[in-house]
Symmetry: C2
Subunit: 222 residues, 2 copies
C-alpha cells in the first residue's frame, strides 16, 4: 500500500475500489443494498450465495469503503456508505452500455420491444402523480416495499398482479417501478398490464435512483 510514489499509492486505492466492483456477486449485492440496509442472511438468500461467501464479499466491499455495517442483536446489517456509490454504478453502466455490443444485444433480446415501453422520467411522474393522473405500482416483494416506496404507490408483487387487476382504474395510466434499471420486474409488469388493455409504462430506473435524486420516499415503521 505505501508505495514510494504518492501517485501510485493513490492509484492503488482507486484500483482497490474498482476491484470491489469487479465481481458479479458483489454487483448483485450492491444492487440489493441499493434498496436499503439488509442483513447478511437476507443478502445471501437474495443473491443465492452461501452465507460465508456473501459475508466475505461484503467484507471485501467494506474494506474498499463501498459499504458499511452495524450490529444489532444477532444480526449484522450492511448498507451503502452513501449515494455516491450509485453514481459510480451509473457511470459504470453508462460505459458498459455505450461500449459493449454484447450488452446491447442482451438488452435488446431480453427487454424486448423496449421502444414501446419508453420509460417515464422521475420529474414527469412526480408532476402527474401530484395531479392525480397516474396510479403508481410497486412490483417488488412486500418486505422491500415496507422498507421504503414512492408516495402513493400500490404494492403488488408480480406474482399477485394478474389476480388483482380489478383493483386498477382502467382509465388511469399505470406507472410501474422496481429495484432499478436492470431489474426485470417492472418490464414484466408493464407487459402483463398492456396485454390486458391497461395503459402502462415503466418508471425510469427504480427506487434507489428515486431516493438518490432527493425525491420523497415513504417508509412504513418496522
Amino acid at each position: 500500500m505505501s508505495t514510494r510514489n504518492p501517485k501510485l499509492a493513490l492509484f492503488a486505492q482507486f484500483a482497490a475500489v474498482a476491484k470491489s466492483l469487479a465481481h458479479v456477486h458483489r454487483l448483485e449485492l450492491l444492487e440489493q443494498l441499493a434498496q436499503g440496509e439488509r442483513s447478511v442472511e437476507v443478502l445471501a438468500d437474495r443473491t443465492r450465495l452461501s452465507i460465508a461467501n456473501a459475508s466475505q464479499h461484503l467484507q471485501h466491499m467494506r474494506r474498499a469503503g463501498l459499504v458499511a455495517n452495524r450490529r444489532e442483536g444477532k444480526f449484522v446489517y450492511y448498507r451503502l456508505v452513501d449515494d455516491s456509490i450509485l453514481d459510480l454504478l451509473a457511470a459504470l453502466r453508462r460505459i458498459a452500455e455505450c461500449n459493449l455490443a454484447e450488452v446491447e444485444r442482451v438488452i435488446r433480446s431480453y427487454f424486448h420491444n423496449r421502444d414501446s415501453l419508453e420509460p417515464i422520467s422521475r420529474e414527469e411522474l412526480l408532476q402527474r402523480s401530484r395531479a392525480g393522473e397516474v396510479t403508481i405500482l410497486d412490483v417488488r416483494p412486500e418486505d422491500e416495499f415496507a422498507l421504503g416506496h414512492l408516495p402513493g404507490a400500490v404494492n403488488m408483487p408480480l406474482r399477485e398482479l394478474e389476480m388483482r387487476l380489478a383493483e386498477f382504474d382502467p382509465a388511469q395510466e399505470i406507472v410501474a417501478y422496481c429495484r432499478g434499471p436492470y431489474c426485470v420486474l417492472s418490464y414484466e409488469a408493464v407487459a402483463v398490464l398492456r396485454a390486458r388493455g391497461f395503459k402502462a409504462r415503466r418508471l425510469q430506473d427504480g427506487l434507489p435512483e428515486w431516493r438518490a435524486a432527493g425525491l420523497p420516499v415513504v417508509t412504513v415503521a418496522a
Copy 2:
C-alpha cells in the same frame, strides 16, 4: 458470458469494465491516455512498463471498451473511447477520496497545506483569463503541451521554472495546471512560485477535464 439469467450477463459486463480499472498499471495508462492519443511505445515509456506488458494491458482495456486504437504506419495509437471514461474515473476518485482514510492521509502528507492552495475553477479561470487578469502556466513536458493546451498558456516544464521566473509579471496572478487532479506538477509549481513571492494557484483538475468540459484547447500542428 452468455449466462442464463440476463441480469447476470449484464452484471458480468459491468464487472468486466470494472476489472479493467482495477489495476494500478491500467489506471496509469488511462491517466496518460486522458492527455490524448499515444503510441504503445510512448505509453510503455511513460508508465515504465515493458512494451509487451503495456500492450497486454492496453488490449485488456480495449476488450472492455475503455480504449480504442488505430494503426498508422509502424505505430499503433491508443486513445480513450470517449469522455465518459473520465466521468467513471472521477466517480471512482470521489469514492476513494470520501471513504478511504489512507487516501486522505496520502493526500495530506504529499500535497501538504492543501488549504492554502485552493484551486481555481475552470469557469473562474476562463472569465479572468478573458479579462487578461491571469497568466496561465502549463507545467507539463513540451511534447504534451504541443498536443494540446489551454488558450494563452505559457509552457514551462517544472525543471525550467526556477530559471525562467523573470518571464512572469509579478503583479499578475499565475494559474498553473498539469495533467489532472493527481498529477503533482502543478502543486510543485505553485509551491515554487509562492516561495518566490508570486501569487499563484492551481487550476482545478487538469487538461483532460478542461477538454471534457467542452472548453477550448489549442493544438500545435504536428
